[in-house]
C-alpha cells in the first residue's frame, strides 16, 4: 500500500505531501520534517490510518494543537513520519450541565470550549493561560496542571473517559463509556461518561495520559467541568519571603480551600498581565518578588455567604503567616487577572510577549522544595550568564497539594543566536542538575527524556512492555519518552 492510500481514507483535500504545509509540524525541539500530513475527521478514519500504518510500517505522529508546538511532544522525532492532524475533529460533542461533564474532540481549543460552556453557565478547569491554539484534549492528556488544587484529586484530572484508537487500530472506550452502546444510546439510559474507572482491573486512560501519543490516538475525551459564577473574588498575597507564601499555599491546600491557587514570581506575573515589553518591564519593576494568587467564585449554594466567609478565612489564614491579601497590586486588579485566567492567553501568547521566545523547564516536586529549586535555578542562570530578570517561575500545587508543578520560564530573544546557544546549554544543565537533586520530570519531552528516565530504568522497561501490547509495531510517535527511534520495531 502506498502513502497515497491515505488520501482515499480521509479525502484528497485532507492529505498532503506539500513541504510548505508540513513545515509547521516540525517546529519545536528537534523536530523532523514529516513526509505527509493526513487530517482525519472521524474515529473510523483514525482507525483506518493506524491500520494502514501497521500494514506499511509507517510512523504516525498525532497532533491536536495548532502551532507553535513548544515542547516537542507532537513534533516528529524521526524522518519520514506521517502527521495525523486531528484538528478537523473539533466538536464539542456534548455539554451535560447537570453532571458538569463535557465531551470534546481533539481539535477543540480552550477558547472554543469556554464559549460553549459559558452558554450553560459552566467553565472548564484550565491550565495557566494556555496558548490560543492549544487543544483541550492534548492539554489534559499531557497532564497540564489545572489551577484549582482542591478539586485536583488525581493527576489525570479533569479527564474522565476517553475513546482511544490504540497502535493496533483497535478502538476502546474507557471508564463508563465502554460498552455495547453508542454515546447516544448511553445517554438514553442516563449515562454521562462521568465515571472514569476501568473498565475492570486496568485504567487505560492512564496509559494514554502523559504518553505523548505513543500508546494510542485519543479521539474524544469527557472532562469534568465546573459551575461558573460572575461573582468572584481575587487576591494577591505579595511577599519577598517565598517560604511564607509556600507555607500559606500548603495551608490552603490542606484545608482544601476552594478555587484558584498559584504562586508566581514577578517576571511571570508581569508577562501575564501586560502586553508590550515596555509595560511588562514597568510592571515587573513595580511588583514584589513573589505573589501567591488566590481567587474563587460564588458558585454553588448561598453564594454571597460563601464569598464572605472565604475572604474572612483567607485573611485570617494569611495573617498567621504574616501575609495580607490585597485586591490590587501595582495597579493590577486581582479580578482582572482572574478573568484572564478563565480563558486562553490572548495573542500574542503571554510567554512570547517580552522577548519573542521562551523555553520552559518544569517538573513535579513538593511545595517545600520550591525555594530551594528557585535558588538553584537562579544560580544556574547566573552561571550560564542568563539574565535572572528573564527567568520566570510558576508553582502550581497539584493533586490537592500533595505535590506541585514547578515551572521555570526562560525568556529570550530568538534572534540573538549567542543567547540562544547559551539558553540551550542552560536548559540542558538545568534538567540534568535539577533531576539529580530530586526534580521529577513526569512529562519528559524531547531533550529531557534521557535525564528524566535515567533514575527510572524499571519504569522505562515496563513502559516498553506496555507499548509492545498497545502499539506492537511501534507506529505511534517514535522517538518519544523511553522509546528511541527504531527500537522495538518488529520489521
Amino acid at each position: 500500500m502506498a502513502l497515497d492510500d491515505l488520501g482515499r481514507i480521509v479525502g484528497e483535500a485532507n492529505f498532503t505531501k506539500n513541504p510548505a504545509a508540513l513545515q509547521e509540524y516540525c517546529e519545536g525541539k528537534g523536530g523532523c520534517v514529516p513526509r505527509a500530513l493526513v487530517r482525519p475527521a472521524s474515529t473510523e478514519e483514525v482507525q483506518r490510518i493506524v491500520e494502514w500504518a501497521n500494514d506499511t510500517r509507517a510512523l504516525l505522529v498525532p497532533v491536536s494543537s495548532g502551532p507553535p508546538h513548544i515542547h516537542g511532544g507532537s513534533t516528529p522525532s524521526v524522518e519520514g513520519a506521517v502527521v495525523v492532524d486531528l484538528r478537523r475533529m473539533d466538536k464539542v460533542i456534548r455539554v451535560d450541565k447537570n453532571n458538569r461533564v463535557v465531551i470534546v474532540q481533539p481539535g477543540v481549543t480552550f477558547g472554543h470550549l469556554q464559549t460553549e460552556l459559558a452558554r450553560q453557565g459552566l467553565s472548564a478547569y484550565l491550565p495557566l493561560l494556555p496558548r490560543p491554539t492549544k487543544s483541550v484534549l492534548a492539554s489534559v492528556l499531557e497532564r497540564e496542571p489545572i489551577l484549582m488544587p482542591s478539586v485536583h484529586f488525581d493527576s489525570t484530572d479533569p479527564l474522565l473517559c476517553a475513546e482511544i484508537v490504540f497502535g493496533t487500530g483497535d478502538r476502546m472506550r474507557t471508564g463508563e463509556a465502554a460498552g455495547p452502546d453508542t454515546l447516544e444510546e448511553q445517554w438514553e439510559i442516563g449515562k454521562a461518561q462521568i465515571s472514569p474507572f476501568g473498565p475492570t482491573q486496568m485504567d487505560p486512560q492512564r496509559l494514554v495520559s502523559g504518553a505523548q501519543g505513543t500508546i494510542g490516538i485519543v479521539t474524544w475525551v469527557s472532562l469534568k467541568c465546573r459551575q461558573r459564577s460572575d461573582e468572584a473574588r481575587a487576591f494577591f498575597l505579595p511577599s519577598e519571603d517565598l517560604d511564607a507564601l509556600v507555607e500559606l499555599s500548603y495551608h490552603l491546600c490542606r484545608i482544601r480551600y476552594t478555587g484558584t491557587i498559584l504562586l508566581l514570581d514577578r517576571v511571570n506575573l508581569a508577562r501575564m498581565a501586560q502586553r508590550t515589553p515596555r509595560e511588562i518591564h514597568g510592571l515587573q519593576c513595580a511588583l514584589p518578588n513573589w505573589v501567591l494568587f488566590v481567587a474563587y467564585e460564588g458558585y454553588g449554594l448561598l453564594p454571597e455567604e460563601k464569598l464572605k466567609y472565604l475572604e474572612e478565612d483567607l485573611r485570617e489564614s494569611a495573617s498567621s503567616y504574616g501575609l495580607e491579601p490585597v485586591t490590587d497590586l501595582a495597579g493590577l486588579p486581582g479580578e482582572a487577572l482572574y478573568r484572564l485566567l478563565l480563558g486562553p492567553s490572548s495573542q500574542p501568547y503571554w510567554k512570547l510577549r517580552s522577548h519573542g521566545g521562551f523555553r520552559d523547564v518544569f517538573f513535579i516536586t513538593t511545595q517545600d522544595k520550591t525555594p530551594y529549586f528557585a535558588k538553584r535555578m537562579r544560580k544556574l542562570a547566573r552561571r550560564f550568564g542568563f539574565p535572572t530578570q528573564q527567568l520566570g517561575m510558576y508553582m502550581q500545587p497539584v493533586v490537592q497539594g500533595t505535590s506541585c508543578h514547578l515551572e521555570f520560564n526562560l525568556y529570550f530573544d530568538p534572534t540573538d543566536l549567542t543567547g540562544v546557544k547559551r539558553l540551550r546549554r542552560l536548559e540542558a544543565a538545568a534538567v540534568d542538575r535539577l533531576e539529580r537533586e530530586g526534580a521529577f520530570f513526569a512529562r519528559p519531552y524531547p531533550g529531557w527524556a534521557e535525564a528524566a528516565y535515567r533514575g527510572y530504568p524499571d519504569t522505562a522497561a515496563m513502559q516498553r512492555k506496555v507499548k509492545a501490547i498497545f502499539d506492537p509495531n511501534w507506529v505511534l510517535n517514535p522517538g518519544k519518552l523511553c522509546f528511541p527511534p527504531g527500537s522495538g520495531r518488529q520489521d
Binding site: 442516563g190 486496568m202 458558585y299 448561598l302 519504569t459 515496563m462 506496555v466
Partner: protein, 544 residues
Amino acid sequence: MALSEEEHKVLEGIVGPQYITRDPIIMESYCQVWGNKLEFGDKWHRPPAAVLLPGNVEEIQAIVKFCNQAGILFKPFARGFEYVATYLASSRGILLELKRLNRILEIDPKNQHAVVEPFVPVYQLQDAAGKLGFYVGKPGVGYSASCVSLACCHQEMTISQLYTSGYGRNVLGCEWVLPTGDILNLGTANRKGGWFTGDGPGFSLRGILRGRAGANGGHGIITKCSVKLYPWYAKAPSECELKREPGQALSAAQLEKVPDNYWVDVLTFPDTERMLQAARDIGQAEIACLVAPAYMNTGFHEEGNDEQWAKLKESPPDLGKFARMMPVIVNGHSSRELEYRRKAVRAAMEKWGGWLEPEWNTEKVKAQIFQYQMWSTGVPGLRATGDFMLSTQGADGSVEMQLAYRPVEFQALQPFAAAGNVLHPNMGMSYRPMEHFSLGCSGGIATDFDPWDPASLAAGKEYLEIVYDPHGPCRRFGYANRGAMMQVEDVNHIHERWGPIYDRADRWLQKVRNMLDPNRVADWSAYIPPEYQERPDEERHACC
C-alpha cells in the same frame, strides 16, 4: 498438588522454618471464608500447598523468583477476609500472608501522604493520621482492611469517597514486586525526592496497576504504597471516649457528641430522585465530607439478632423512609466555614423538599452516625445470616443513570425478596457519591441471604445470574463493577462473558497479565486467566 521436599526446603530457606507451613491442619484454616458456599458450593475452596509469612521485600522477591523456576502458583494477601484473597486457581499454589509487613513507614503531614506496608489496617492509619490532623477515608469493609489492598489490589469503595475519593485514586506511588520477582517502583516511590506521585515519567503505570478494582493478588505483590491523606479536624478515634451505659455490651460504646468542627444532618426526601438531586447539589458545592444517600445500615445495630428483631417489632421502622434518608456530614477548618456549610446543606434540603426527621437528628443519633460513617467499622451486615450477597455494586455514573438502573436491579431482586429467600430490608439502593459528585456515584445493593438454606442459596445464585448475565437486563449498565471484582473468574467467567461487548477490555487485560507474568505463576483467579479454557457453550453462560 503438594510441594516436593526440595521445593519446601528452598522456600523454608528463604523465610525460615517458623514462617512456613504446609501442615494440612493449618491449611484447613486458609480455605474457609464467607461467600465460599455461594461461589464454590461449599464452605471450602481449594487449600493452598503451603502458607508463608515473608518478612521483607527481599524474601518476597526470592519466593517469587523461585515460583518462576519451579512453576508454583503464588498469591499474596494481607488480611484474608474475602475469598478472593485466599482462593487459588491451582492446588500447586502457595499463599503469602503479609502480616509481618506491618509498619507505617512515614506520615508526611506537609505533603499529605502516608507510606504503609500491606498489613497496616486502615483503622490504624486513620488513628495515626488523625493524631496529626489527617484522615484516610472510611472503607465500606471493616476496620481491619489493609490500606495497601484497598488502594492497589482490591476495590476501595469508600463511604466517604465524596471527599476522600477511592477506587485507587489516592495512590501516590508504590513498590511492586512483579510476578517475575523484579521490582517496579511507580512514580517517585523509593526515589530520593519522596513518595509524592505515582505517575510517570511519561504515561502512568497506575493504568496497569488497577482499574475500578485491583488484580486481587493476581499480578504480583505491592509491598509499600503511598496514599493521600485528607484534612481531619477532630481527635483521632483512639483519643475519643466512647461511652456506654452500665450493663451495656461493648458494641454499644459510642461517641456522645459530634466533634466540634463537624456537623451532621440526616435529611429525608419525598423520593429517591429528589434525594439524589440534593446529594448532587451538595456534592457539587464542594461543602460536604460525607453524603450517603440511603446508606444508614451500619449505624443501627443492636447487640445481637434477637435484640435487633425485638427492636424492629417494638417500633417497626418505615423502611421506605430509610431508602429516602441521607446523612450529610460537613466539616470546617473554621467556625465560619462550618456555619456556611451547615446552612448550605439546609438550603439544598429545602430546595429539594427535604426535611429533618426528629428521631434521626438527635445528638445521640448524629454522634452515632458520625462514628459509623466517618471511621472504620465492623461488618455487622454479616451477622444476620453469617453471609451476604455479593453486592452487585450496581453501576457507576450519574444521578440519571442511577435512577434508570434502580428499577432494573429491583426487578431482578424483587421475586427473591418477596419469597423471603433473600433479605433486603429497605429495597433501596444506597449510593456513594464520588469527589464532589464530579465522578458521579456508585450504587449498590447489599443483600443478606443464607447460604445454608437451599432456597436462599438458589435464590442468590439465580439473582446473581441475572445481574451477571451480559445478555440480561444489566447489559447496558456497566461491566466495570459486575460482582464488584469479587468474582472468581474460573467460576463465573465475568471477563470472558462481558469483555466482548465492552470494547474487548478483557483482551487487553489478558495481554497485560501475560506480559507481567510470562511464566504464569501469579494466581489469576480473581484477575483474569492467561487464556480462556475450552468449555461447552452451555457452561460458558453459567455464572455460579
